[in-house]
């Protein structure tokens, strides 16, 4: 297990380095420059040059990259061009917000999706299955923008029962913070429920048709025991993979929800950084998401191997 994890961490580091190079090079071919962004399109060229010089973006590309990465590996994320403050607190705060929302959504959607999928599978082909699947899949294709606005208009304005800003007042406790996250979480739950439910359903149906399940039923085990001990364990495997791949989306891909519900997550931060050619902030934001994504897949792989001994044996070889 230790070799397995070490190997994965090593691969992850290389991936992150390549990612940083790609982001850097992509940043070079984007139009515009940081000084021009800060001063606006109509600013005098001399002012733009002066500002680019203070940022150091007028240096050779390799020098810029080296100066950035040599600081980054020492834990210094640098200073944001556009905001003129240290990047680290901005990224950490945004990541914290994103993780909070992601965790809240996960806690709701994972049990709900698995329960829905298993319940549908147990009635495969019957109306209950049809209803759950159709509703789940339909909700998956509703864009966050649409469901978000409908929710805001209904619950935030017409009924006025839930806050439409995901940002709690400063100093609010965890319950208040979660209360503010209810509305923004719903569009995400709607989107993810369909995926997870379908994976859980498919896994359960496959497990139900397997030889070991038939054996378990034929040897007279109670239905409940068959489901919890034999079926669920196997049907969960693909579900975990699907859930883990959604972490990247939930952390970095929520720009629309963050914008609509006024929430400062890392997705919006990256978009802001990319628009402003704010290279230190862009690199830090993307690498942090990369790290979270890799940790999530690693955790999923470990869970997977715990549930499925075959993987464990392969990895140990």
């Amino acid at each position: 297990m230790a070799t397995f994890i070490l190997k994965r961490v090593g691969l992850a580091l290389i991936t992150l380095w390549i990612l940083s190079v790609i982001v850097f090079l992509a940043g070079q071919v984007l139009p515009g420059d940081p000084g021009r962004f800060v001063l606006g399109p109509l600013a005098a060229p001399s002012a733009v040059h002066a500002l680019d010089h203070t940022f150091g973006t007028d240096r050779p590309v390799l020098t810029q990259y080296w100066s950035w990465i040599s600081h980054f590996v020492q834990g210094d994320m640098g200073k944001s061009y556009t905001y003129q403050t240290a990047v680290a607190p901005l990224v950490i705060k945004a990541l914290g917000n994103s993780l909070k929302l992601a965790a809240f959504v996960f806690v709701i959607v994972v049990p709900l999706g698995i329960a829905g999928g298993v319940w549908a599978a147990l009635a495969a082909g019957k109306p209950r299955d049809r209803i759950i699947s159709v509703v789940g899949l339909s909700s998956t294709v509703i864009p966050e923008l649409v469901s978000g606005i409908v929710l805001i208009v209904v619950f935030g304005i017409a009924l006025n029962v839930l806050p439409i800003s995901a940002t709690a007042p400063p100093g609010a406790g965890l319950p208040t913070q979660l209360y503010h996250l209810i509305l923004p979480a719903i569009p995400l739950v709607l989107i993810l429920f369909g995926y997870i439910e379908q994976m859980a359903r498919a896994g359960t149906i496959e497990a139900l048709n397997s030889d070991y399940a038939r054996t378990a039923i034929l040897k007279g085990l109670p239905r409940r025991t068959v489901i919890t001990r034999h079926i669920l364990r196997n049907s969960l495997l693909p579900t975990i993979t699907v859930a883990a791949t959604q972490v990247g989306y939930l952390i970095g891909g929520l720009v629309i929800v963050e914008t609509l519900f006024h929430y400062q997550g890392i997705g919006s931060l990256i978009v802001t950084a990319a628009t402003g050619r704010d290279f230190p902030m862009l690199e830090a934001g993307i690498l942090v998401i990369g790290i979270v994504f890799m940790v999530a897949t690693l955790v999923a792989d470990i869970l997977f191997s715990l549930l499925n001994p075959r993987i464990r044996y392969q990895a140990a070889e």
Partner: protein
């Protein structure tokens, strides 16, 4: 006006300069209405007491116009003390650095704690003293002297003197540093021209005469807040030190800012205890936040997507005339636009009132293919308004050798209603046989390096761009249209025009300005290097409990007289 009034008026006129008396003549002749008189008088430094007395003496002689007031603009009833006003605004795009700020969100932050020498009151369309109590031009208009307000202290306790003002303007006008005000001050003011006369007097020696200079040191030039001598501008965002009615409580990037009333403010402590701004990345959540009761107002909004605010009596909507406009340039050096008849045909194809109704929901004013709009008193309104005339447009095209029209690329930017405007223009042009091939680009791609040869904005055959609000049309007459202008996307080169603009900029008195404006407007209509379809109104919305807010059309809002009932 009776004999008594005449005598009073003569006494008042006796002590005044030639220029000041010229404005009184203009007022008496009816060429200036009361509002314009106040506005122009303010530019040349006439005190409001004097102007009030003159207007009183003129009595009913000329009361044709009154400010288009709105319910929340003028506080009515007894202002209520206390409370925190919650406002939504666009998130500042960059660091809050007075030198570099360029966006609406950022400049409103400067205006919360900072103050200018002069305040351009957009509600009354007049200049008012702020940190300067009076200002006078030299006879030629090349030197302007500002008397500073005594007894003003910065939020750090330091007294404000000429030293601070000189430091501020030397930095703003220094071509060697990253100052956004250079777009205003280049070839107008250099650091050496900023001179301390005495501790309470500053003189500006300009590179050439400029009759509009007070506007360039007013709130229109949003970078020009007065900061203490020696301020490190890049660190200003940690203190927000200014002289204004509010002091900084907290500022968080991308989240919001809060301010506290300044008990020692020279203009008297504000009614509010403070203000709290929430930053948004886009407009729809701001509208929803106002409707959901999470904020009391929106600093500035655009009509598209805000129908619910414009059509509702639940909110006070303040409409301000603004010089913000859209400009379609045609390359005068590229066929088929080398022929002025072709350019006129393009302009004649535009259905302007329909554009204002459909795209701005009525919140705009007609444009007449020049930067002169209803916000400027110098605009010569005797020049006829261009109206849609498809027959004439087709005739002109035929005469120019394009009886079946032609096709040409039209490049524009992803910004506010502009993509929709480009579509409307394309449809209008199709009616006279012109096919406009649209390309709509993100702003960074469109502007590029903003120099000739490196910018789709400046290089495209047809290019549709946005211009924000300014207090005077000078920059818009010079940069996009003069032969040596840096933003001349039309490549318009016309010696007569260049000379007229030079004279207009230098002219100190309104009569001359308006006469020259008429010539410029006529010339631009004949040549049509650009199409200006409309001017956008500045829009601010609050709940009905909010009174006395003073927004400007550049998206700053002043809260020193605001209160919540």
């Amino acid at each position: 006006m009776d004999r008594n009034d005449h005598r009073k008026l003569d006494q008042l006129r006796a002590g005044q300069s030639e220029l000041e008396n010229h404005y009184v003549d203009e007022l008496l002749a009816g060429r200036l209405d009361r509002r314009q008189f106040l506005r122009k008088g303010a530019v040349i430094g006439m005190s409001s007491t004097l102007m009030g007395a003159i207007l009183a003496a003129c009595g009913g002689a000329n009361n044709s116009s009154s400010a288009s007031s709105t319910s929340s603009a003028a506080p009515s009833g007894t202002p209520k003390q206390g409370g925190t006003l919650r406002l939504a605004q666009q998130a500042p795009a960059t660091a809050i650095n007075p030198l570099t700020i360029d966006d609406g969100g950022g400049l409103n932050m400067l205006a919360q704690t900072g103050e200018f020498l002069v305040f351009d009151n957009n509600l009354l369309l007049t200049l008012q003293p702020m940190l300067a109590t009076s200002w006078t031009p030299s006879a030629s208009g090349a030197v302007w002297t500002f008397k500073l307000r005594p007894g003003v202290t910065f939020h750090n306790g330091q007294a404000m003197t000429a030293k601070d003002v000189v430091y501020t303007f030397k930095q703003l006008s220094d071509p060697k540093i990253a100052s956004n005000a250079l777009s205003t001050f280049t070839s107008v003011l250099s650091p050496d021209g900023v001179v301390m006369v005495d501790p309470m007097t500053v003189a500006f020696h300009l590179e050439s005469p400029n009759g509009h200079f007070p506007y360039l040191v007013s709130s229109d030039n949003y970078n020009a807040i007065i900061v203490p001598d020696g301020t490190d501008f890049s660190k200003w965002q940690s203190t927000f030190v200014g002289t204004g009615p509010f002091t900084l409580k907290s500022y968080t990037q991308n989240v919001g800012a809060s301010f506290l009333a300044n008990p020692t403010y020279w203009g008297g402590k504000p009614y509010l205890d403070g203000s709290a701004y929430t930053f948004y990345a886009s407009q729809p959540p701001q509208v929803l936040a106002l409707q959901g009761g999470q904020v009391d107002g929106i600093v500035q909004f655009t009509p598209q997507g805000a129908q619910s605010l414009l059509n509702s009596s639940t909110y006070n909507v303040i409409k301000l005339k603004s010089a913000g406009h859209r400009e379609l340039s045609m390359r005068n050096d590229q066929a088929p636009f080398t022929d002025p008849r072709v350019r006129q045909a393009v302009a004649l194809a535009m259905g302007r009132p329909q554009m204002i109704t459909a795209l701005l929901l009525g919140a705009g004013q007609l444009g007449n293919d020049s930067p002169f709009g209803p916000r400027f008193p110098s605009t010569n309104t005797s020049v006829p308004q261009r109206v849609q005339d498809l027959t004439k447009a087709k005739q002109l095209l035929s005469a120019a050798g394009h009886p079946h029209g032609f096709s040409a690329p039209l490049v524009t930017e992803q910004y506010q209603e502009i993509p929709a405007l480009a579509q409307v223009m394309k449809a209008d042009l199709a009616q006279v046989g012109i096919t406009a091939n649209l390309t709509i680009e993100p702003q960074a791609t469109y502007y590029g390096k903003a120099t000739y040869g490196n910018s789709d904005w400046l290089d495209s055959t047809m290019s549709l761009v946005d211009y924000g609000d300014r207090g005077v049309p000078n920059v818009y007459l010079e940069a996009p249209l003069t032969s040596s202008g840096p933003w001349n996307a039309a490549r318009f080169k016309n010696k007569t025009y260049d000379n007229l603009v030079k004279q207009y900029v230098a002219a100190v008195d309104l009569g001359t300005q308006r006469q020259l404006a008429g010539k410029i407007e006529t010339l631009l209509l004949a040549e049509t290097p650009i199409v200006v379809p409309y001017f956008l109104d500045g829009l601010t919305a609050t709940t009905q409990q909010v009174h006395g807010v003073n927004p400007t059309s550049i998206s700053a809002i002043y809260l020193n007289k605001a209160y919540i009932s």
